[in-house]
Structure formats: structure tokens, C-alpha cells
């Protein structure tokens, strides 16, 4: 049997674009964010230019922003909360209307 699809507030998680974005101009690869996040959102890439990537955005908890607080150079940003909520509301209505 297929494992049921991950949802958030009744909407498929994959339809909600919520995850951190790394500003590579600022990031110094201290890896604090990756150490902190328990959800396996980031992945380290040894030997590559971008030594840290957001490999699993769908694992990020919608509306969580806590890793940003661990980032000294302020390299992490998130989508706008209000816009995200509006999107979720729209998707819920679409679903209800079929």
C-alpha cells in the first residue's frame, strides 16, 4: 500500500513552497542551521562549491523559521507568511469546490 501523501492543513505539502533559501553570498558554511534542524531539510555537499543545499524542502515544517536564528551571517530567508497563508486558503477552497 502506498503511504498517504504528506499534507499541511489539508493541502498537499508539495504544493506549499515553504522552506529556507540560502543566500550563498552571505553563507560561510558554519553548518549551524543543519546541526540545528531535526527534520533533514539541509544536506552537506563535500567538495562542491555550494557545500550546503536545501535538499528536502518538503521536510521543512510550514511556518517554522527557527534555523534562521542560528545563522550568524543572516543568510537564511523564508517566504512571506501572509502570502503563504493566502495560498493555503486558496488551495483549500479549490479542493472544497472540487
Amino acid at each position: 500500500m502506498q503511504v498517504s501523501e504528506e499534507t499541511f492543513m489539508g493541502v498537499p505539502r508539495k504544493d506549499i513552497p515553504w522552506c529556507p533559501a540560502i543566500d550563498y553570498e552571505k553563507c560561510d558554511y558554519c553548518m549551524e542551521c543543519d546541526e540545528f534542524c531535526p527534520h533533514g531539510v539541509f544536506e552537506r555537499r563535500e567538495g562542491e562549491e555550494k557545500k550546503l543545499v536545501v535538499a528536502h524542502p518538503e521536510n521543512c515544517v510550514v511556518f517554522c523559521k527557527v534555523c534562521a536564528k542560528t545563522c550568524g551571517p543572516d543568510a537564511l530567508s523564508f517566504p512571506d507568511k501572509t502570502e503563504t497563508l493566502e495560498l493555503i486558503k486558496r488551495l483549500r477552497e479549490d479542493k472544497r469546490d472540487g
Partner: protein, 290 residues
């Protein structure tokens, strides 16, 4: 018969610190003015001794320092704290500090009578926190999974999928985090409240907490304005561990549009099922199996 609403003073009485010694002296001064005094040591070993006095009187707790031993003792025994003062804060107002020696300095001795008078006139904590709201007892449902037990209230609470709750009464709500958060974070050691007056949209941060394992934001299930924060929780963040749904509340808000917020929230039964699923899923992720 014991006199109704007579002040009953519970000092910290920590005799190894000046602040503790001051709390004791203040209690004795109040005793002279007609209050009853509880000896915290005797109370700990034989709480029945003071039952009558406590039932009829009004409890004033005097903590020495931030550790808040007297408050803790009162909470552990389920006593209702009507008024509270902390010696270190009284000292701070006079630009003084608790000294190294546990013997009270002469300058401070001189201040005691005035402080005792102030304590007599302290306002009730309850009045500050919005009167009769949120006093009804809460009953719970629970489910067990593996070696864990998760509790969820039976009614009156609304949840978002970030495991934060709003306890709604009229146009007010208290916000906090669920039993699940408490258990996965383990010992909560820090609560940073938002500012009173802060405007919250749904899903905005309503303060944050730190545990020995992690840190997280309290993500507001509702929109409104912060009208109060739980000072007890600032002093004793572990209240979230011992009582996440009642004493462990974090902030109080004046709701701005609960009717529409509500459409996006789970009620108690909904969260009970949601949490059940979530816990199972996590277990599968961690230990494999379907």
C-alpha cells in the same frame, strides 16, 4: 474560626542568603501586623498543619531570589498565589543588591518596615490577569504509544498543525504548546515572551522556548493583540513540562477575528486524531516498518 481573607505569608526563608533572610524578616513584620506566617520547612514536611489557615486566608508569597523556591513550593501543593513579591526586585528598585553575607546589612534593615507596608498593599495577581477567565477546570483524553502517553484537552481548545493551542473564552484566548511539543523537546529551560501590545497575525511568532535539546517558536493559531504574558512561566519555564495546557500558558491575546481563524484550526477531537497519526508516522520514520 479563622478570619476570611486574612493574609497568609509564605516566605522563602533561605537562611544562607541575604535575600532569604530578608524574606523571613518581612514575614515576621507582617506577622506582627496580624498576618499568619507559614514556615516553609514545616509546611514541606507536614502541609496539613497549615491547611485551615490556607483555606480561609489569602496567600502572599515572598521569594528571595529568582529561583523562586517559595512560589515553587506553593505550586507543588496546588496553592493559589494571590500576591507575590521577590526580595531581589525590591532591592533592585533601591539600587541595592543581595549581599554575600546572609546577615542583613543595616541599610537594608532600615528599609524593611516600608517594604512590609508595601506588601500589605500589593494588588492581587488574579485581578491583573483578567479576572474570571480561564478558571474552569480542564479535562483530558489521552492515548498511549510505545512508552509515551499523550494528553489532549477534551474541549475549549483549538490547534494548528504546528502543535500550538489557543484556549478560547469569549473574545480572549490563551496560547501555548501541546503535550507533544513538551515531550519531544524535553526539559524546557527558557521562555522568551513577546511584548505586550504586539499585534499577531495567525502563524506569527508568539514568543519562543528553549529546551535542553532544541529551540522553537510558539506559532500563534489565532490573530489578535497580546494583552498579557505568563510571568510565572518566565520564572519557571518547566511549567510547560508539568502542565502544558493550563499553568504552562504563554500569552494571552484579545482576539481580532476568531470566526475566520477557526476555519483553519483543529478542535480537540481533530487534534487528538491528528496527533495520534503524527506520533505513529514519526515512530515509523525512526524505527522503520509500515
Amino acid at each position: 474560626m479563622a478570619e476570611k481573607n486574612k493574609p497568609v505569608v509564605l516566605p522563602c526563608n533561605g537562611i544562607d542568603k541575604e535575600a532569604g533572610a530578608i524574606s523571613r524578616e518581612l514575614a515576621l513584620l507582617l506577622l506582627e501586623k496580624g498576618a499568619d506566617v507559614i514556615c516553609p520547612v514545616l509546611y514541606q514536611s507536614n502541609p496539613k498543619r497549615y491547611q485551615k489557615k490556607l483555606e480561609s486566608g489569602k496567600l502572599l508569597v515572598i521569594d528571595g531570589c529568582k529561583t523562586g523556591c517559595a512560589s515553587k513550593l506553593a505550586r507543588e501543593h496546588g496553592l493559589k498565589i494571590a500576591k507575590k513579591a521577590t526580595v531581589n526586585e525590591l532591592l533592585k528598585e533601591e539600587n541595592l543588591k543581595s549581599g554575600k553575607s546572609p546577615v542583613i546589612g543595616t541599610e537594608k534593615l532600615g528599609l524593611l518596615p516600608a517594604w512590609a507596608e508595601r506588601l500589605e498593599e500589593l494588588e492581587d495577581i488574579v485581578a491583573e490577569e483578567g479576572g474570571t477567565h480561564f478558571k474552569t477546570p480542564v479535562s483530558f483524553r489521552q492515548f498511549a504509544f510505545d512508552k509515551f502517553i499523550f494528553k489532549v484537552p477534551e474541549a475549549g481548545y483549538f490547534f494548528n498543525e504546528n502543535d500550538c493551542w489557543a484556549r478560547v473564552e469569549g473574545d480572549r484566548a490563551r496560547l501555548g504548546v501541546s503535550d507533544y511539543v513538551q515531550q519531544s523537546a524535553s526539559d524546557i529551560i527558557f521562555f522568551e515572551p513577546p511584548e505586550v501590545g504586539k499585534e499577531l497575525n495567525m502563524f506569527d511568532e508568539a514568543g519562543s522556548i528553549e529546551s535542553t535539546k532544541t529551540a522553537l517558536d510558539i506559532i500563534s493559531p489565532v490573530s489578535g493583540t497580546v494583552t498579557a504574558v505568563n510571568q510565572e512561566l518566565v520564572e519557571a519555564p518547566e511549567l510547560i513540562n508539568s502542565d502544558p495546557y493550563v499553568a504552562g500558558w504563554a500569552v494571552e491575546v484579545a482576539l481580532s477575528d476568531f470566526e475566520s481563524d477557526r476555519e483553519l484550526l483543529m478542535d480537540c477531537a481533530g487534534y487528538f486524531d491528528y496527533l495520534n497519526e503524527k506520533v505513529k508516522k514519526e515512530y515509523r520514520k525512526r524505527y522503520g516498518g509500515k
